[in-house]
Amino acid sequence: MKDLGNTTEIKGAAHQDLKHESAIKQVQGRADYTDDILEPAGTLHAYLGVSTVAHANIRGMDLSRVRAAPGVVDVLTADDIPGVNDVSPTGKHDEPVFPTEKVEFHGQPLFAVIAESRDAARRAAELADVDYEVLPHALDAISARDAGMPMVTDPLKLERGDVESGLAEAPHRLQGRVVVGGQDHMYLEGHIAFAIPGEDDDVVVHCSTQHPSEAQHMVSHVLGVPSNAVVVNVRRMGGGFGGKESQMNLFCAVAALGAKKLNRPVKIRPDRDQDMTATGKRHDFVIDYDLGFDNEGRIEAVESQFAARCGYSSDLSGPVTDRALFHADNAYFYPNVRLTSCPQKTNTVSNTAFRGFGGPHGVVAAERMIEEIAYALGKDPLEVRKANFYGQPGDSRTLTPYHQEVEDNVIGRIVEELEESSDYQARRAAIIAENTKGGIIRRGIALTPVKFGISFTATWYNQAGALIHIYNDGSIHLNHGGTEMGQGLNTKVAQVVAEAFQVDFDRIKITKTTTEKVPNTSATAASSGSDLNGMAALDACEQIKARLVKFAAESRGVAESAVRFGPNQIRIGEEVVEFATFIREAYMARVHLSAAGFYKTPKIHWDRAAGKGRPFYYYAYGASCSEVSIDTLTGEYRVERTDILHDVGRSLNPILDKGQVEGAFIQGMGWLTTEELWWDKDGRLRTHAPSTYKIPLASDRPRSFNVKLADWSENREMTIKRSKAVGEPPFMLGISVLEALSMAVASVADYRECPRLEAPATPERVLMAVERLKAGG
């Protein structure tokens, strides 16, 4: 076969650095978010009325003052729900749209006002007179467990080996507890849903959700109509981070209820405070561990319990707490291990998905155990880490607590390269020397690894669809089931399509995600967006390409192997035809130019009852090294430098992936440093807007920030173009900051004691740990 060569490359092929498809619109303020969609005449606005106690029986609800308020058109309560009064995403039926008998957290939605303006609805929502029979409440996991409150879902146990003898026989044994805080998503665009009624049962809902199919299903469930009557559309979100996976269901349901009842468009947008008080966040965990290890710091046995504040309903707490256990090993081999979860019910908002989905808590626990060993033995934590890394296939140190073999381990190489490039050893020695002088400012450094399992542990979620049309002018229309929340998914999938057809990226129009085009999609979550949707789109491309190749070969009388795509043309034997011309020709010859693609992840299976299986298709790896300074008089701190080496396989778009890594690191750092959720004794969340809840600012970035992708890496599994998922894994790189703070604190007692810093390590916690260590030292 003649090699036709490939002299010019197409613009926007896979593996190229390509800017975000919406970047130009975004910088001009022309990218439309749901609140920017032109409102049809007659649009009404809804607002939620919420509870003012944490736990109570509802004796009665007098809404007459709400109804009489200026501008109010209607008030929706549970009585207005024609279908089922439930939006629980896992079918547990424990999450009513509006409760009728019981209030279970402070700020729980009780009814919705619909008014001519949002302002009028908001003011009226304050006027309800609810008669509560107040009941005792428990806000955190431990006090709720002590009070005998139930779990929201069945716990998980992962077990391997003989933990009892492992612990008993280990040369060293210690117990401890690590408290890891929750986190608000603080997506800049809050929740919003905008429903437009149609004929019959039809309703179209524009909203900001990561899971359009679930929103569609919930709306149909609440309205009591089939799913085929409901369309859910998402062009883009102003950030999601997991907070819009299940939490949008309620808003979609309320908007649709109002729209159908009143036959007018209804928009609902909570203000930031209601968004933060009425919707779920990252769980906080209390993790107890019992640890056995040898003189070298090698772990012999681990027993650990993970208690999580789940809130009043199950939501996604089952899979979140499961994933905490799946990551309680991080990159370390535990010869004997027993891990149990305790998804604890509490009288707080129901916690939900957030980047990492429980995984980060597991990793923090693993790293805390490493720290404990290091301080107990007087070793560098990095040395202890290396001693405990998983091995390579065949060396008997590859089996995880859930009985999956680690087959693709590259953590050794990642850490070795980062140790070298960050000059870790020399800097650590210098820091220790400097700290010895006993100054007010102390420094710390830590290099922490991440191994993160990729795939939904709900195996059926690992499927995706895509729909591709080529119009007869040669322009390509791309639709897939994933949603764009800033991560660049649309850009990456379009690159896959550009590469497949060997056409410039500009030829492809990426359209909004809609349940009308691709049905039964999974949430864009679990870092799976490009893995799943990229493959589904590729499948659609391959179907169309096969028809085009067949047509080309038949029309010219050449073998199919003599037909080649690109760049921006089709080569058929010796003949070269422009892509658009060829498409027109194919159309005239009645070639089908549209295809629905599909993909399901191979190899994975999971038996939750047995605690065994292969829940993950593969692992992503990374490591970060952070250096901090702390002020031992005030607890204030600063991140001086962070170096990162992260594995994204063969990147679909290195510059976008780097952006994900940088952003995830800062978000992870914020989780562990300044982002603190604070409830008062009545169960009111008092950190409910950016004035009181502090996410990192530009000035909180490491003073020197060096981020690299492991460009040698390639996924050993057959993922899309051999890339790896990037959304969640780098979030846990922020743990290096927590551990560096810990080292700086430990210096005030000559590193004799593990400081056991709680997260978030606010300046207050840092100072109090310093004072505690000084007093004990």
Binding site: H20, A23, I24, K25, V27, Q28, G29, A31, D32, D35, R123, H185, L188, E189, R236, G238, G239, F241, D271, D273, G439, I440, I441, G486, Q487, G488, D631, L633, T634, G635, E636, R638, I655, G659, E662, G663, A664, I666, Q667, T674, E676, R686, A689, P690, S691, T692, K694, P696, L697, A698, S699, D700, R701, R703, F705, P763, E764, L767, M768, E771
Partner: protein, 487 residues
């Protein structure tokens, strides 16, 4: 007196005249709901995220100044005679990108894009005034802008690169400066403006004499300068505040007077407007000033407002009390002067009689031998409300402490002096032991509260340690740094 009833301003290129403007109508709602300029976003409605950042051009002593503001907490009625510039005004003919926009695209500064218009506006203002900023200047300019996606690195890189994409000399706001100045001149009122419905009335006095008159007529009126606090009363608490008297536009309240004896700031002077004079007269307040809120809020908020609202956690009262500042109160009856510390009577209660307004703050210059420090402790370094704020002024003669003024915010129901700690210092040698003793004495001055910003324990511990820090910083024999550098 003749009265106007319309609010007039330039919106991007177009002159607007709006009748019957409610006092509580925010600029953001006006832009998004009335004008359908949806580029500016609502992220928080409390001036803390910056997604709604726009530029406001206003005349000050005949000169046109553009500054970033949070449209979400700025009231439209306060913008009479101003030029409002939104993200929609940036692109050139045929949608050509502005240099700031080009840099943001090329450096991948947007991911979800929701915060992006606000960042573009902040960086635009920075580039206009400082086309080649340092990294620290960029960070200061975007203190009031939150991004949850990028981790900021690409945004900072874009900011540093804007100058390579174009010079402010070619920018249309710069080129049209003379024309816009003339158009704004023509919009300046010649009479008091009263607008809005009875229950949401906005009043813009013509001058300070008229302000006294308005307050005499409406003793319960809400005085609004920067609206960085009152804005939240509206957007968060839906509190009725009518009638509202806007004072931002009153030039007489914007004077900054420096003499050998004192620095006197008019009550309408913003943090930004006072910054240069503050830095020059009180160098120890330089870094502190940069940590008050974010840039947008510093452009709006006034020192007069920070004092007048009586908050126990305002950033300026503790440091001003330590410096011995006085507040000038004025009304139709005349004016009176009192020490700032006496102005704060109790939580939510100030020594302000009906019809009084804060006219000025007078801060005496440092005496020879006076040592000053200002400290702010907060969960996040920038754009946060202090858990503890401290101002310390100590005079030493021949190694002995002769006077000590120490004031704390966040430790009591009002900004308050630490009388016992001060007494413990006076007459003592300038030595570590004296400050240790003062730190212990502090326990008798304060019984702080625990809340979401800090626990009582932390507040006490850190307050005591700040006295120790003060000594270490002033003691010239210390070699090693005793606090983290800003940059």
């Amino acid at each position: 007196m003749a009265q106007g009833h319309d609010i007039r301003f330039l919106l991007n290129g177009v002159e607007k005249r709006v009748s019957d403007v409610k006092a509580t109508l925010t600029l953001l709602d006006y832009l998004r709901l009335d004008q359908r300029l949806t580029g500016s976003k609502e992220g928080c409605a409390e001036g803390d995220c910056g997604a709604c950042t726009v530029l406001v051009g206003r005349l000050h002593q005949g000169q046109l100044h553009y500054e970033t503001v949070n449209a979400c907490i700025r009231f439209l009625a306060s913008l009479n005679g101003c030029h409002i510039v939104t993200i929609e005004h940036l692109s050139g003919p045929q949608g050509r990108l502005h240099p700031v926009q080009e840099a943001m695209v090329d450096y991948h500064g947007s991911q979800c894009g929701f915060c992006t218009p606000g960042f573009v506006m902040s960086l635009y203002a920075l580039w206009m005034s400082n086309p080649e900023p340092s990294v620290q200047e960029v960070e200061t300019a975007i203190q009031g802008n939150l991004c949850r996606c990028t981790g900021y690195e690409p945004i900072v890189k874009a900011a540093m690169a804007v100058t390579q994409y174009g010079s402010p000399a070619h920018d249309h706001l710069v080129r049209e400066r003379t024309d816009v100045t003339a158009r704004l001149m023509a919009l300046q009122p010649s009479a008091r403006i009263v607008t809005g419905p009875e229950d949401d009335r906005a009043i813009l006095p013509l001058d300070v004499a008229d302000l006294a008159q308005v307050l005499a007529e409406n003793p319960k009126a809400t005085i609004v300068a920067g609206s960085t606090d009152v804005g939240l009363w509206v957007t968060k608490f839906m509190r009725p505040i009518s009638p509202v008297v806007f004072i931002t536009h009153l030039e007489e309240l914007k004077s900054v007077e420096v003499t050998e004896e004192a620095l006197t700031l008019g009550a309408g002077v913003t943090y930004s407007e006072s910054e240069a004079a503050i830095r020059a007269a009180f160098p120890h307040l330089g870094d502190y000033w940069d940590r008050i809120a974010g840039w947008q809020v510093r452009n709006m908020g006034t020192i007069g407002g920070n004092i007048a609202n009586g908050s126990p956690i305002g950033d300026t009262p503790p440091v001003l009390i330590a410096l011995g500042a006085e507040v000038v109160l004025q009304s139709a009856r005349g004016s009176r002067v009192l020490p700032l510390e006496d102005f704060f009577i109790d939580y939510g209660k100030q020594d302000r009689e009906a019809g009084d307004f804060v006219a000025a703050i007078r801060i005496p210059r440092a005496k020879p031998g006076q040592m000053d420090a200002a400290y702010k402790i907060s969960k996040r370094r920038d754009e946060d409300i202090s858990s503890v704020a401290a101002g310390i002024s100590v005079c030493v003669t021949d190694g002995v402490i002769t006077t000590a003024r120490i004031a704390f915010g966040g430790m009591a129901a009002t900004p308050k002096r630490a009388a016992t700690a001060e007494a413990a210092l006076v007459g003592q040698p300038f030595a570590a032991a004296s400050f240790d003793a003062a730190a212990v004495a502090l326990g008798q001055d304060f019984t702080p509260l625990s809340d979401w910003r800090a626990s009582a324990d932390y507040r006490m511990t850190v307050a005591a340690n700040l006295l120790r820090r003060f000594y270490l910083e002033q003691d010239s024999t210390q070699g090693a740094p005793v606090r983290l550098a800003i940059a």
